[in-house]
Symmetry: D2
Amino acid sequence: MPKINRYEDISQIDREAKKDFIDRHSPFVHCETEAKAGETFTVKVKVGNEYTHPDDMDHHISGIALYNKDTKLAEATMLAGALGGQGKKGNATVTFEVVLEKNAEIVAQSYCTKHGVWESDPVSVSVA
Amino acid sequence: MPKINRYEDISQIDREAKKDFIDRHSPFVHCETEAKAGETFTVKVKVGNEYTHPDDMDHHISGIALYNKDTKLAEATMLAGALGGQGKKGNATVTFEVVLEKNAEIVAQSYCTKHGVWESDPVSVSVA
Amino acid sequence: MPKINRYEDISQIDREAKKDFIDRHSPFVHCETEAKAGETFTVKVKVGNEYTHPDDMDHHISGIALYNKDTKLAEATMLAGALGGQGKKGNATVTFEVVLEKNAEIVAQSYCTKHGVWESDPVSVSVA
Amino acid sequence: MPKINRYEDISQIDREAKKDFIDRHSPFVHCETEAKAGETFTVKVKVGNEYTHPDDMDHHISGIALYNKDTKLAEATMLAGALGGQGKKGNATVTFEVVLEKNAEIVAQSYCTKHGVWESDPVSVSVA
């Protein structure tokens, strides 16, 4: 408490509304799975993959945090309206550049002002 | 992942180092358990109860978030040095004023730059 | 750009609407003017003194930052709804505890989602 | 107060140390100058252009905020160590995706834990 909602594979879910609900709230980590130690490594976090989320004043994605295992690397706060505002939908997206020194496990969390905290599947990055 | 560490009753723990570790990282919610609907309600969050935490540049409490169940109410970010800096110790503390409209369950999370996310015991507030 | 709006003494302003506009957006720093070096020092920042500000979804006070001269000590983010929500008004308020080691000049900034950045008068704190 | 440092054209500055100081602290906005209304528009903010900034625990770039005129669109917080940590240098960089509906004036601010707030030159974006 607060509940950490976790992504479920929506291809295993029948009900369209539930697929949409899970997908549009889940942060997806987009990055390579190999990195060079000490070099800039780009990680894009996009909330929603196949579906979009409202950018309404009272219902929007207001934050994205990026972790390497238990260590927070960075986070972003998005104000309502940044994706078009009332009546519009979109995918909150932020791209961070970080430097990894050893094998990493990248995970993102996002926060919806109506539906709380959501966590991505982790992505293992081997660093050499 | 990231792990959410939760407070454990340190009176049940024998090892002094472990008592200290758990206590100094845990956020404690200090507030009344009854509130009047629509009126200002004060919630103090103090990290650590009997023990203090370093305020070193590479090891400090950098954030406190306040939730009512799954809904984030507010959060605070503290820069290293705000509690005296290198070699000093203290209790990161922030007091929020919020307005509750119905029964609430207040919980806080804090973030240590070395030891990750910690969550308080929840406090039930009956609102009339 | 962005413009930093600064508090003006509203007793010198005739027009009621302008008094209200300036007062309800301005952060006010409430603290002692003397502190003991190395001890906890409490600073309360309250946005608005004689007037209150809406807590509407599209119009609320979303942030308060605390500086000692050019150095950021801490900041707080408040979600819309924390002060009662749509149709309600209040004074966004947060209390920080910091430790000062030498004479300080405390200043706060707040952010309104419709009317931008506002800055308090600074408060000089002599530290011994 | 706090001082807002603004980028100066370093080609007009002789002293190498001053060129480096100004450049490595200044956020640079990288985006197109034309956008389509209602479509995703990518804005990259990179702190430093020709020079890099330390990522030391007590001296790093800890925040980047993105504004359209007086309206905050988003902001990012970077923890010390995200760019390699003690003894390493880099360019704090974050890429936001926003939606613009009419002509915009994009400006970024960054915060260095030792040298305060820095503001980019604004970029005018014509939106059709």
